[in-house]
């Protein structure tokens, strides 16, 4: 059953074609990886999906609802939200308050607090709930960001480089978490530079280059696609696969 349906999505910034006629669908419960060189439009793409950027043309449907022109908070209420590449926490608030605020989308303050603790537990950060978000280490902050997104109760979750800067052990933990979220019925889109991680967890991979969808297939298919190798993976991909 398709949960996200994107057709002909285009966006231009001045002279730069950030997105060009991007079309694909995502069935419920998949982990979809999104890769592409820097500047390929991945972050723009996520921002467009959640309503932070308005596309020039194209349609986005979450279930049966069209999202184009909708403000991000409406999109969030409908069940789609994203994390930020550079980690956009409320640095001067506590970890708990960060997550609690997201819970206010569905609950009152007291219930949101309970929910927030559940979400923090899920990402393994319950112990630091009362620390200031700004005082956490980078990997911890990425997880708070994840917990915060979870607390909005999403159906579709867009993760923008949550594994950046993690060591292999931490990365494995996040990969396990992403899988368990998928097992709970969530649909996830993941932007990541770590090929190994992407190849391991994703059911399917999309490759973006200069705003265009270059390839769409399983890890194996994408990794062996000569167009992809030429444009993006280069030598290191050969070395690692």
């Amino acid at each position: 059953m398709t949960i996200l349906d994107v057709r002909g999505l285009s966006k231009r910034f001045g002279g730069l074609q950030a997105l060009s006629d991007v079309t694909f669908t995502v069935p419920r419960g998949q982990i979809v990886g999104l890769i592409g060189p820097n500047g390929a439009g991945k972050t723009t793409f996520f921002s467009t999906l959640v309503g932070l950027i308005r596309p020039d043309s194209g349609s986005i449907k979450l279930g049966d609802t069209s999202l184009v022109g909708m403000k991000p908070h409406k999109v969030a209420a409908l069940g789609m939200t994203k994390t930020f590449q550079n980690v956009a926490l409320f640095a001067e608030s506590s970890v708990l308050d960060n997550v609690l605020t997201a819970g206010l989308l569905r609950f009152d303050v007291a219930t949101a607090r309970e929910q927030a603790l559940i979400c923090l537990d899920r990402v393994g950060l319950k112990s630091v709930a009362h620390k200031l978000a700004g005082d956490l280490s980078f990997p911890e902050r990425a997880r708070v960001e994840l917990a915060r997104a979870l607390c909005t109760g999403p159906k579709v979750l867009l993760l923008d480089e949550v594994m950046a800067a993690l060591n292999p052990v931490e990365m494995q933990e996040i990969m396990d978490l992403i899988r368990s979220l998928r097992d709970d019925g969530l649909t996830l889109l993941v932007v990541e530079h770590h090929m190994r991680a992407i190849m391991t967890i994703c059911d399917r991979i999309l490759v973006l280059n200069f705003g265009k969808l270059l390839a769409d297939g399983t890890a194996q298919q994408v990794a062996n696609d000569p167009v992809v190798i030429e444009a993006y993976l280069g030598r290191s991909a050969e070395a690692h696969t």
Partner: protein, 323 residues
Amino acid sequence: MKRWLALAVLIAVAAVLPLLLSPTGYWIRVLTFTLLFAAMAQAWNLIGGLANQTSLGHAAFFGIGAYTSTILLLKFGISPWLGMFAAGALGGLAALVIAIPTLRLQGHYFALATLAFGEVMRVIANVWAPLTGGPGGLSVPFTPPSFAGYSFKQLLPHAYIALGALIIVTGIFEVIRRGAMGYRLRAIRENQAAAEVIGIDTTKVKLQTAVISGVLMAMLGTLYAQVAVFFDPDTVFSAAAISIRVALIAILGGVGTAAGPILGALFIIPVEELMNDLFSAGAAGLSQLIFGAILIAVILWKPRGFITLWDALRARFARGETR
């Protein structure tokens, strides 16, 4: 918690103090204005502190409040107690009108756009003479003293009304700060895009805050008009004497905290008075010069306001306790 205790002590002192001062005298007037300015700074603190939108145009709402109730009193004999609510309604409306084009502005742009809005209101009041009396200003009529008519021979009732206003505005501030709205405002303040994607309607929240702030500011304008008795466009729509001063009070005290505006007002208003008293007869400009110098010194000393002094004291105290 301790901060609340301190606040309670402060309120108790403020409740008793007016009784100790001569009811027709100077210090009770200073106290009344101190309390009023504290309340005004607290109303500003909603938008300036919680939403982090440094408004430099709050005189617009304030002046609307002063004019609305006074015009209703002069033309229709409506008691300022009722006029105050009309004032609040118009102030809220004005806040809505100005918020729509300005709220998406950031930082300095917002500050300067609101500054311009305050000036617009001043010009309108100046020009619309049939309604506002124009540059000649308005005098609140000297009606026989009555509580219902909001007319008193002495300043004592005004002092208590100002105190009550301060407590109410501070209460509203705290309720908002601690509630869901407070969480949302903090989120917006710290990262607007992140706030949006987790489902906060940032425009609506900011609009609501701006309107509440405008309503309160306008109602305080009514109280001010009743104490000052005479005002003209330059007084109530003044950028320097109202807009900037109110922001200054909140900022010097500690922006975004309930105690900040109160600390700020307790400092600024009496110091201004003292400077005027001590130096204004001496040489023209000296008292203002010293006031400005004190302002600079305080900002260099405590750029985040007096509240940080309190925090530092409390931290030291807490450390002492644990030892």
